[in-house]
């Protein structure tokens, strides 16, 4: 299992204001940001990414918009800096929100440039983007996946075509001379990743052989991974753990209490990040018709209730570290604890090859973050690297 450290580069000083406003995203005015404090935080977060290279971890960056939860507004911009500050780490974009990008050729261009700059260390996640990203981008939520797939196909063709220019006259995108310079080092293109929360995403990712990732819920991950493996099998190949990725909050410490304390601070992110003004949580067309029917039947939401792996209902906005461990949202404790939790999780999932290590989240300070990264890299990551997860889920 590979470990990819990531941090959303949160602006946690505004979280209280966001909670009071009922939304940390979209409608929380940026008057709540002190740019001088933001400067210090961004510098610090980039130092923490650079540390990962020293200690042998890979690096993942994502982006969000108009939010106190994440100051990374552009994956290529952040990875360009990190590429220059690192030598060995592979650099995962997870990802470029291509359903919200008006210019897919620009995405291909920037990521090819990054692959050249990083000497072939780039991995390219092409993501739909969260529901509340629709408003800041003002992209149409109707038919979003048709736009996504057209952008996806165009980006892959732009990265892998060497005898262009070629023309593209599609439903959403129109170009007459696609011919990106430079072209990527990795051919035909850097490894492609997708993200999702459903079995349907597992199937379509399998049809293309992409890595598929999800986050913070074993209950969501398992059906998606199962669907991926089943679809790959139908198509005549066996999908190994290297196709499956999972993001979790991880707090590790010399003592169990210290690991839990760190996880609890990072998990503040999990408790606040979904606090979004109602209309932006489900723009029409973003979710499927059956999902919308279920939401209409359920009526107004009362907290964010999720079921843990024992069937207990948990309100994610108030959950303790122990509650979140039961939903596979958090792995926490000593290095032995954390290794065993991840090993068991991977076995339950049928084999996960990529761990997305959510190792900083808002209120975890620099000193704790550095120790979390160092301890994980020294004591947990090497054992995960040697872990050979079973191909099939353990008997349940």
């Amino acid at each position: 299992m590979r470990t990819w450290y990531f941090s959303e580069m949160a602006y946690h000083p505004a979280w209280e204001a966001g909670l009071a406003r009922g939304s940390l995203r979209v409608v929380l005015p940026n008057g709540n940001v002190d740019p001088d404090i933001a400067h210090g935080l961004l510098t610090r977060y980039l130092d923490e990414f650079a540390l990962c290279d020293e200690v042998g971890l890979d690096i993942m960056v994502n982006e969000h918009h108009a939010t106190a939860t994440c100051m990374t507004v552009s994956v290529p911009m952040a990875l360009a800096i990190i590429a220059r500050e690192t030598k060995r780490a592979r650099l995962l974009s997870l990802g470029n929100p291509i359903a919200n990008r008006p210019d897919p050729v620009r995405v291909a261009e920037e990521m090819a440039w990054l692959d050249v700059l990083s000497n072939g260390r780039t991995e390219l996640g092409l993501v739909k983007g969260a529901a509340y990203e629709i408003a800041p981008a003002n992209s149409n939520p109707a038919r979003i996946m048709r736009r996504y797939w057209e952008a996806h196909d165009l980006i892959l063709k732009a990265l892998s075509t060497h005898d262009g220019p070629f023309s593209w006259e599609g439903e959403y995108f129109h170009y007459r001379n696609v011919n990106i310079w430079p072209r990527p080092i990795q051919q035909p293109h850097p490894p492609i990743w997708m993200t999702g929360m459903s079995a349907a995403t597992g199937r379509v990712a399998a049809e293309r052989g992409h890595v598929v990732g999800t986050l913070l819920s074993g209950g969501i991950a398992k059906p998606m991974f199962d669907a991926y493996r089943a679809r790959a099998h139908e198509l005549g190949w066996e999908a190994g753990p290297d196709r499956m990725a999972y993001a979790a909050v991880i707090g590790v410490g010399h003592t169990r209490a210290e690991g839990h304390r760190r996880a609890d601070l990072i998990a503040g992110y999990v408790r606040t990040a979904p606090v979004v003004a109602e209309p932006f949580t489900n723009p029409p067309g973003y979710n499927t018709i059956p999902a919308n029917v279920a939401m209409l039947k359920a009526g107004k939401k009362k907290g964010r209730i999720v079921a843990d792996r024992n069937g207990n209902l948990i309100d994610a906005s108030k959950a303790s570290v122990e509650d979140l461990m039961a939903t596979d949202t958090v792995f926490a404790g000593t290095p032995d604890d954390v290794f065993e939790q991840i090993r068991d999780f991977s076995a339950r999932m049928g084999g996960v090859g990529h761990l997305l290590f959510f190792g900083q989240g808002g209120f975890l300070d620099h000193k704790d973050t550095v120790e979390n990264i160092r301890l994980f890299a020294a004591e947990v990551a090497p054992r995960l690297r040697d872990l050979h997860p079973p191909r099939r889920a353990a008997a349940e």
Binding site: N140, P141, R143, P279, P283, P284, V293, K297
Partner: protein, 257 residues
């Protein structure tokens, strides 16, 4: 009665009621709501032909249909297929936008145009909102803005059958498809309104807060031959909120005795 008819390859579900002069009715983004009283009231004097727009109700939404232009041509084709003559064209909210796009192209089959709280045109500057961002407010806030008395528009969705909820979800998605960007208007339409020579009525709800103050008056001024009328104690959906008064106003204009 709902029947289906295929026009330009698009299978449309059409509510058709009443006898008398033909009236083509184009419904709001919220839906047709044929079981509210307005339709039977209107059908006392007219043969009302009320299609569900593609993606709403039982109407199909083929992949190639995706703009209000498509809907305008589709309903011009429908009027041809039905061989309408001197028909009334009535559009409410989103349906008003479609109606204007139609008769800016061809009014050959229509004698009069009535727009009820129409969307579709922007008159103000870049920083002014002519039309509220209905997708940036909660459902409760939307009802406050769109109804003189919000309780009249509130429906307990949790008790509706799955098929109805599915139609609501499909309609909401289709509304976004056609109206998301530019938001609920065609920036070019304002410059073609001069082509609409038909006698026109712009009907407004006195308590409509979905469009800004004076919006309907600017519509009326932009049409070559239009008058305006306001329905009291009604918001953005006067046909639903004050069906008697609204149908009476429409009837006075469309079928004067």
């Amino acid at each position: 009665m709902i029947r289906t008819r295929t026009v330009a390859g698009v299978e449309l579900a059409i509510a058709e009621r009443g006898e008398g002069p033909p009236l083509l009715f184009l419904h709001p983004g919220e839906g047709l709501e044929p079981d509210r009283p307005w339709l039977d009231l209107l059908a006392r004097r007219f043969r009302v032909i009320a299609p569900f727009h593609p993606g709403w109700g039982g109407s199909a939404l083929p992949d190639w249909v995706g703009s209000v232009d498509d809907l305008a041509y589709l309903y011009l084709d429908l009027a041809d297929a039905l061989e309408l003559e001197n028909a009334a064209l009535v559009g409410a909210d989103f349906g008003g936008w479609i109606a204007a796009e139609m008769v800016a192209r061809s009014a050959a089959r229509f004698a009069r145009l009535a727009l009820v709280a129409p969307l579709g045109v922007k008159f103000g500057g870049v920083l002014e909102r002519d039309i509220v961002d209905m997708h940036a407010v909660s459902r409760d806030r939307f009802l406050e803005l769109a109804w003189a008395e919000p309780a009249r528009g509130d429906v307990d969705m949790t008790t509706l059958p799955d098929a109805t909820l599915e139609a609501i979800a499909r309609g909401r998605e289709a509304f976004a498809l056609f109206g998301w960007k530019p938001y609920m208007h065609n920036p070019r339409l304002r410059h073609w309104l001069h082509r609409i020579a038909l006698p026109a009525l712009v009907l407004s709800g006195a308590a409509d807060r979905i469009t800004g103050p004076g919006y309907d008056a600017r519509w009326q001024a932009a049409l070559p031959d239009a008058r305006g009328e306001t329905i009291a104690d009604a918001g953005h959906f006067p046909l639903w909120e004050q069906p008697d008064a609204t149908v009476a106003a429409l009837t006075r204009f469309l079928a004067p005795r």
